[in-house]
């Protein structure tokens, strides 16, 4: 498996090298939305004398810089890609290869995330300076962040594939995945840090998987939660990841069995 992955990664790096400009442009998507909501919360905080809940302006900046980094590291777009492959009849040959199609996607995600991180860090450094960001991060937080962001990325990736597998039955998943994205918009910590969602919304957010992909690793990275809380949140991440791993195996097996190729 290690040798397979080495070969896959090398091939993917070479393929990705053709899309250098694209990687810089797509980075905009990871930066713009956090900056938008950061600006909104700064405006709210300023109207309230500089503080909202436990956050002042510099804390908001820390949270959204962390969120932007986490979103680049965890978000996966495989559902859209997968639908396209099913519809165009490109999936059929991939199913015949000895390697499960998910491995190609894993390699692509790793390479993509690692190559786009460099321009992103440059931009985030600029944001960090211009907003005078405060991080409350301790070494313990860093130690928690590493597993948290890895689990978050795995969670986003696997749940994306479960979603994508719907295409086996419906050919189109665009509607489903766009509803999923809206769930993430409200509950993942994009419009507000999870701690600032009003009462019932916060309870729902902690029960749903979205926050464990974005908001949780971001909050840990900025040092916004204490260590026991961080560990509990990582526990929640593990629960959701196991759920989606099992779901993926089931759904994929059933889907492949009844899949009938489209196209040529």
């Amino acid at each position: 498996m290690i040798r397979t992955y080495r070969a896959l990664l090398v091939a993917t790096v070479q393929a990705a090298a053709q899309y250098r400009v694209q990687s810089v442009l797509w980075m905009l998507f990871s930066v713009i939305r956090p900056v938008i909501f950061l600006a909104a919360w700064v405006a709210v905080a300023n109207a309230q004398g500089g503080r909202v809940g436990g956050y002042d302006v510099r804390d908001f900046a820390g949270y959204y810089v962390a969120l932007s980094l986490v979103s680049q590291l965890t978000m996966a777009w495989d559902a859209y890609e997968f639908e396209f492959e099913v519809r165009m009849g490109r999936l059929a040959p991939k199913l015949l290869r000895p390697l499960h199609p998910i491995h190609y996607a894993v390699a692509w995600n790793i390479v993509w995330k690692l190559t786009t991180i460099i321009p992103l860090l440059v931009v985030l450094a600029l944001v960090t300076v211009s907003f005078d960001v405060r991080f409350r991060t301790t070494p313990a937080h860093v130690a928690l962040f590493v597993p948290s962001v890895l689990i978050g990325a795995a969670l986003a990736f696997v749940s994306g594939w479960v979603l994508a597998s719907v295409a086996f039955w419906t050919t189109r998943v665009h509607a489903v995945s766009s509803l999923w994205d809206r769930g993430a918009f409200i509950f993942a910590g994009q419009i507000a840090p999870l701690a600032l969602l009003p009462g019932p919304l916060q309870v729902i957010a902690l029960a749903l998987p979205f926050g464990y992909m974005l908001g949780v690793p971001a909050e840990i990275l900025r040092g916004g939660v204490d260590v026991p809380t961080g560990l509990t949140l990582i526990g929640g991440q593990i629960l959701w990841l196991s759920f989606f791993l099992i779901a993926f195996q089931r759904v994929w097996r059933a889907g492949v069995r009844q899949f009938s190729a489209v196209g040529a």
Binding site: V21, Q22, L25, W26, L28, F29, I32, R33, V35, I36, F37, A39, A40, W41, V42, A43, V44, N46, A47, Q48, V52, G53, S130, F131, R172, A175, S178, L179, R182, F185, I186, I191, A192, L196, L197, P198, L201
Partner: protein, 261 residues
């Protein structure tokens, strides 16, 4: 002029018939639009649980602004993005010749040819959100209404000019989907008033990618927060942007050569 509006109506009708072939999909997309707008309102409401006013914008004004955002975005997705996508495909395949040979303005035929009729739902819902927001603002006089209509029209034209200028680059670079992605990524910033953003972003959203202006100024106009000078500035800027992008388009057109031969 009459001929052009008749053509426009014809384009619209054929595209409507085309879309009505996919009724289930149509319904799904409408549901999707409702969910998107509802969640966006939700985001604004979350912000306003902590404050009554954001940089001088109260909840009513903010809802008007959000409605304008969906009006402008809906206009872009109703006609501009389908038409410009087809245009880029024509350049790549060399089939633009067919459009150029027809006895109407090529710019008209290319930029307003295709419709995604379902996006009328987005425009309609945007109008509803504006109306709801207006319900919380007292007294909208005729002057404000005229200013609003004028500013919104300018917003549409500004977006049109931006997309025309961006897609004209296809004449030289052929594959420019990436450049269009710049528009899409900045578009999201239109959901809040442009004055809340830090300097660099505010400048970008007011000049190079004028989405902020296109959404914020109409909302200011109807809330009675726009002075006459601001409106004049907007109109002049819009006319300039339109003229500049149209001449850039003609420049690009000159370097187009059919790829089919």
């Amino acid at each position: 002029m009459l001929r052009y509006s008749r053509l426009l109506a014809l384009f619209f009708r054929t595209e409507l018939q085309y879309e009505l072939e996919y009724r289930a999909n149509l319904l799904l997309e409408i549901v999707q639009t409702v969910v998107i707008i509802a969640t966006s309102i939700g985001a604004v409401l979350v912000l306003f649980t902590y404050t009554d006013v954001m940089n001088g914008w109260d909840l009513g004004a903010m809802l008007v602004l959000l409605g304008c955002f969906y009006l402008v975005q809906g206009f872009g997705e109703l006609v501009l993005s389908p038409s410009f996508e087809k245009f880029m495909e024509h350049v790549r395949l060399g089939t633009l010749d067919y459009a150029l040979l027809k006895p109407v303005s090529a710019q008209f035929l290319v930029t307003l040819r295709h419709f995604r009729v379902v996006q009328l739902a987005q425009i309609g819902l945007g109008a509803v959100v504006v109306a709801v927001g207006l319900g919380r603002i007292t007294a909208v006089g005729p002057l404000e209404a005229v200013g609003f209509a004028l500013a919104l029209a300018c917003g549409f034209v500004l977006i049109y000019a931006l997309l025309l200028a961006l897609s004209t680059l296809a004449f030289w670079f052929v594959r420019i989907e990436n450049l269009m992605a710049i528009y899409w990524s900045f578009l999201d910033a239109g959901r809040f008033p442009v004055d809340i953003y830090p300097g660099w972003l505010r400048v970008t959203l007011s000049t190079a990618v004028p989405i902020g202006v296109a959404v914020t100024v109409p909302a200011q106009a109807i809330a009675g927060r726009l002075d006459f000078g601001g409106l004049v500035l907007l109109v002049v800027g819009t006319v300039l942007a339109f003229v500049a992008s149209a001449s850039f388009w003609r420049l690009g057109l000159r370097s187009y050569t059919g790829a089919s031969a």
